[in-house]
């Protein structure tokens, strides 16, 4: 039974990686915009839940509806005012979003103070052969699976997904076919931000909400997307699965910090062997 619990925990770790990196896989994997402020978008999702909780909103409503909405709109705003000037200039994008990241972190610290705010939602716990597993773990795994399936379906089987993928591949051709690339970029960035906000809100009950909570996730999110490679969904699943198992199994054997180190070490070695990520070599024809 212990091995079953370990498996559930590994799945939960992988689901966590999927959650924090889906928004980034759209913004970075598809749009090629390196958003260093990704962690701060997560943090804003967390703060949306905190604020909504103070206003008396149902926490589930705040987590699943309000947080993606608020962060998505914020993403659209940032894209229009700031990011759109940097398309095609990767290095400048890096620097600009890093500035944005520090700015957001500082602003939130000024406004809300540098303290951890807890968010409590309870789903009880489930009995697995005498060992108890938090119900929230199952919830996270389910949401991560739903997000992956929904993203796959939208990208592969809807016109919206086709337009988005086409525009990212060749904006000039898309424009010639009466599609406004600028609007597509804005919408895609908004959707990526919304997914990030959702992830931040979902992780808030586990980690607590602090202005610096994004820093803890940004490295893992980037490493997952990069290790995944060009095929964004298959890549995210395979990288999150591999890295999630490595970090969680190491965590069981030692401490969570060593688990983190193991994750990053494996990722760096992986990039030495497969410089284009997992899907640069395997499953090349998937999305």
């Amino acid at each position: 039974m212990f091995s079953l619990v370990v498996m559930i925990e590994v799945l939960r770790a992988a689901a966590g990686l999927v959650l924090i990196s889906t928004g980034l896989m759209i913004i970075f994997g598809m749009m090629r915009v390196i958003n260093i402020a990704h962690g701060e978008f997560l943090m804003l999702g967390g703060y949306t839940v905190v604020m909504a909780g103070k206003a008396g909103v149902n926490p589930w409503l705040a987590m699943l509806v309000l947080a993606p909405l608020v962060v998505g709109l914020f993403g659209v705003l940032v894209e229009r005012l700031f990011i759109r000037f940097f398309y095609g200039r990767m290095i400048d994008t890096l620097l600009a979003t890093w500035g944005l990241s520090l700015f957001l972190m500082g602003m939130v610290t000024v406004l809300f103070g540098n303290t951890v705010t807890g968010v409590s939602v309870s789903l009880g716990s489930v009995d697995v052969g005498g060992l108890r597993v938090s119900g929230y773990s199952f919830f996270l795994i389910a949401v991560a699976a739903i997000i992956l399936i929904a993203t796959y379906l939208v990208l592969r089987h809807t016109k919206l997904g086709l337009v988005a993928r086409g525009t990212m591949q060749n904006p000039g051709m898309a424009a010639a076919l009466k599609i406004n690339p600028s609007v597509v970029y804005m919408a895609t960035f908004g959707i990526g931000s919304a997914l990030t906000g959702l992830a931040g809100a979902l992780l808030a009950p586990i980690t607590g909400v602090v202005p610096t909570m994004g820093v803890a996730f940004v490295a893992q999110a980037f490493i997952t997307v990069i290790a995944g490679g060009p095929a964004i969904i298959t890549g995210t699943i395979s990288a999150a699965g591999l890295l999630g198992s490595v970090s969680q199994l190491t965590t069981f054997a030692t401490t969570p910090v060593v688990g983190d180190v193991a994750l990053l070490f494996v990722a760096v070695v992986l990039l030495r062997i497969l410089p284009n990520g997992i899907t640069g070599k395997f499953f090349r024809r998937s999305i």
Binding site: I34, F85, L94, G99, S101, T109, A267, V268, P275
Partner: protein, 347 residues
Amino acid sequence: MMERSDLLATAAAVLVGLVLMFGLPLYADPFQVMQLTLYVVLAIFALSLAFVWGVGGILCFGQGAFFGLGGYAFAIAAINFGDTTGACALALLVPALAAAALGYFMFYGRLNDVYLGVVTMVFSLIIWKLINSTAGPEWHIGAARLGGFNGIPSIPPLNVPGRPSDQLDPLQIFQLALGLLIAVYVVMKILKSSHYGRVAIAVRENETRAALLGYDVRFVKLLVFTFGGMIAGMAGGLYATYQAFIDPNVFSLEMSAKVLIWVMAGGLSTFLGPIVACIGLQYVALYLAENTVVNSQVVLGGILCVLVLALPSGIIPALQDLAHWSIGRIRIAFRARSEVALQDGAA
């Protein structure tokens, strides 16, 4: 070899540095000179990235990691040995080895610019996490407790090599730091205009062409990166001994962001620019953070956003362009006036 004007500029900069090095301790307020030491140390740190990014074209987002490794290596060794001679050597060696190891994975894996940035940043974050979690008494290397987020206090000051009892006073540490800054500046200038520097610049400009000309691009980058890591470590060691204290914030993203901003603001193509920008922006950031409600992160982030948006080539090159432009305008105006005068005379 350096061009003549470049040689003159370097000589002038070195002269100014030497005058400050020997003059300030004699004439300025000792407390202020001590405070200046921090700026000098950070300027060495700025030079390390100016070399890696400006000459080698390697965008390192985790330069703070090597700075911090240098500082921690110095602190741990100095506390254990009781003498700082070996500690100084380790402050150079540990970051250089770390940079070489990380560089091996990055350059021999042929990661491109953007991935390089992300991987170096991740490297720095992971050390930050690791050191932060070492607060308990079970985490120690020899006699030195790592202290986790509390940092390592009471790091001994530098002493004359081989004589632990002959400790340098704060003014001497200032002179040493400034001397090292001048030395690093000169060495980098010479390296940049040497054969190796030119190969590195060729690799930066066009990797494929440099490779086709028979240069091992990966090895060239590895050397530049390792050298940069070593210089950052030197700055970190000085920082640790100057503050007599070091904490994991040296590994934070803010530290790496700061140095990047200095180099960007100072201009990528120069060494003097980042030094000036480092000192100037540190003053500005300190002033703003002390006198307004916003904190230093807001200021840093704001500066970075504005820089990238408005002045991608840097503040100091932009000022130079402005100066050239206004001199040009004055010349044109002057010439126009004299032409008018000539025409008047002819009429």
